[in-house]
Amino acid sequence: MIEQVENPIIEVHDLTVSYDKKPVLWDIDLTLPKGKLIGIIGPNGAGKSTLIKSMLDLVPQSSGFVKMFDQDIKDIRNQISYVPQRESVDWDFPASVLDIVLMGRYGKLGFFKRPRKADKEVAIDSLRKVGMENYLHRQISQLSGGQQQRVFLARSLAQQADLYFMDEPFAGVDAATEKAIIQLLKEMSSDNKTVVVVHHDLQSVTQYFDWVILLNTRLIASGPTNKAFTHELLEETYGGKLTLLTEVADLLKQNELPNREKKVNK
């Protein structure tokens, strides 16, 4: 069940991604529609984060290409926002909530330029949207997990992008935060923004997403939630890896061709 769309906002073509020569994503081929809330679902180690990182060119692609808005990612970074996993940064870092959210404006500012008053206003407005406007000068080390995630989200909003990528925004947050975040994401998509979310919890998929991508080192499904999020396809996604594929991946990592031809000669 892989549904392709007309005039896609994202086009992933034959994308293979390898770590240390070992493929972790095989030949991903998909197109995604505009203005939808899209969930990437799959078991641990399925390559969900890798998929969005490679779309954003944060990890090198072994083959294939990705286009967004029909352009190369390098030319449209301004229109794209990325929220990394919360654990990927050091929350002991000496910075305030406002400092972090202002980072979202850095891409729009040039070299040498400092954030201006207008940038600050955007940042404060973004914080208001996630309900954190009273925490402007709070040190980030004093935030709870849910609050950290809200700050990350505010930073992403401050980028004023059209396309958002979020890596596990619901991981380790309290129920109230999760509710607030999903509310916000839904508002964004009704504003015709596209949001791609790496997601863990199967229970909430049908409530949250318009479109799902099922992934387990290979693409299993991509389509509207009601068509792609079926029992059968989920079973395939979580039914383990294809052993043959895994072995071929290991083989590529070793990158040692056994000397077959000599055997044939003898």
Binding site: L58, R77, S81, Y82, V89, P94, S96, D99, F112, Q142
Partner: protein, 297 residues
């Protein structure tokens, strides 16, 4: 007057190191700083042998390049040779430093550097090497000008690249996504550290530069949660340990550089105890920040 010049030079050097040290501490790269400070030694000796002097600009740059080269080598052995990072650092800097020491002991006659200088610098002799113009006007010690220039370079660098350095330190993934190159800023920072260690070499020697890079920055890290303040505190601690170091050395009749590192250790120790106590008070006090946060959710 001697005391003034020594403390001034020490402070200038310590402020440069303290500012850069903040980035190294937050990037968890202090051992790379250690490696750089050791690796510049052969560059300094070679530049000395070639140019015959110690305070020329070419030497600052030449030796500084060797520092950057050492970080390339560490990367190279790690990436291409698949050697684990800690070992890659250890192998690279001990090798370059060993070469430097051999050069120093082989050319003792021709090079105005000896093993003692390598170990703990010659800040005590700073007032002896004066810059006197052709008209005979005494402009003060040369080292003050060198370390002053380096400090200006470092401050300009941090001022211009403030937001890039900040974001590549805090969240490299986001900065790449925004189109800010982490590699470029990494090597710019390494270059700055290299130049600073070369300039500091004369004052405090190759090994104790690390103390200036790490101690003020770690102290500041303990004392504040605000990055800008961390830079200020780190610079201030640098000045403090150069004062303290000087008078401690005079009192005990020992090496000034050694005493500066010792003072740094004491200041850090005090900050450590202070921050522990502050935590304890916060924990026992019911109206703490974290409680407020919990309530407001």
């Amino acid at each position: 007057m001697n005391a003034f010049w020594i403390i001034l030079t020490g402070s200038l050097v310590a402020i440069s190191c303290g500012l850069l040290g903040c980035y190294l501490v937050l990037r968890k790269m202090t051992m790379i700083g250690d490696a750089i400070s050791h690796s510049v030694l052969p560059g300094i000796v070679l530049a000395f042998l070639i140019s015959g002097s110690r305070d020329s600009i070419p030497m600052l740059i030449g030796a500084g390049l060797l520092g950057v080269l050492s970080t390339f080598l560490i990367e190279f052995f790690h990436r291409k040779g698949k050697l684990q990072t800690d070992a890659s650092i250890g192998v690279t800097f001990t090798w370059l430093f060993a070469i430097g020491v051999i050069l120093v002991s082989s050319y003792t006659g021709q090079v105005d550097i000896d093993q003692d200088c390598v170990l703990y610098g010659e800040i005590a002799y700073v007032p002896l090497d004066l810059w006197i113009t052709e008209n005979g006007i005494n402009l003060g010690p040369r080292s003050v000008y060198i370390s002053g220039t380096v400090l200006l370079i470092i401050i300009t660098f941090i001022w211009l690249g403030y937001k890039e350095l900040l974001i590549t330190t805090f969240d490299p993934a986001l900065s790449v996504a925004l189109g800010i190159s982490t590699t470029i800023w990494h090597y710019l920072l390494m270059g700055a550290v290299s130049i600073t260690t070369v300039a500091s070499f004369e004052s405090v020697g190759a090994i104790l530069v690390v103390a200036l890079l790490v101690t003020p920055a770690s102290t500041a890290y303990l004392l504040t949660n605000n990055f800008r303040k961390m830079l200020y505190i780190s610079a201030f601690v640098g000045v403090l340990l150069s004062f303290g170091g000087y008078y401690l050395a005079v009192w005990l009749n020992g090496s000034i550089a050694g005493a500066m590192a010792t003072t740094g250790g004491i200041i850090f120790g005090l900050a450590f105890i202070y921050s522990k106590n502050k935590q304890r008070i916060l924990q026992t006090n019911p109206t703490t920040a974290s409680d407020q946060i919990n309530r407001s959710i």
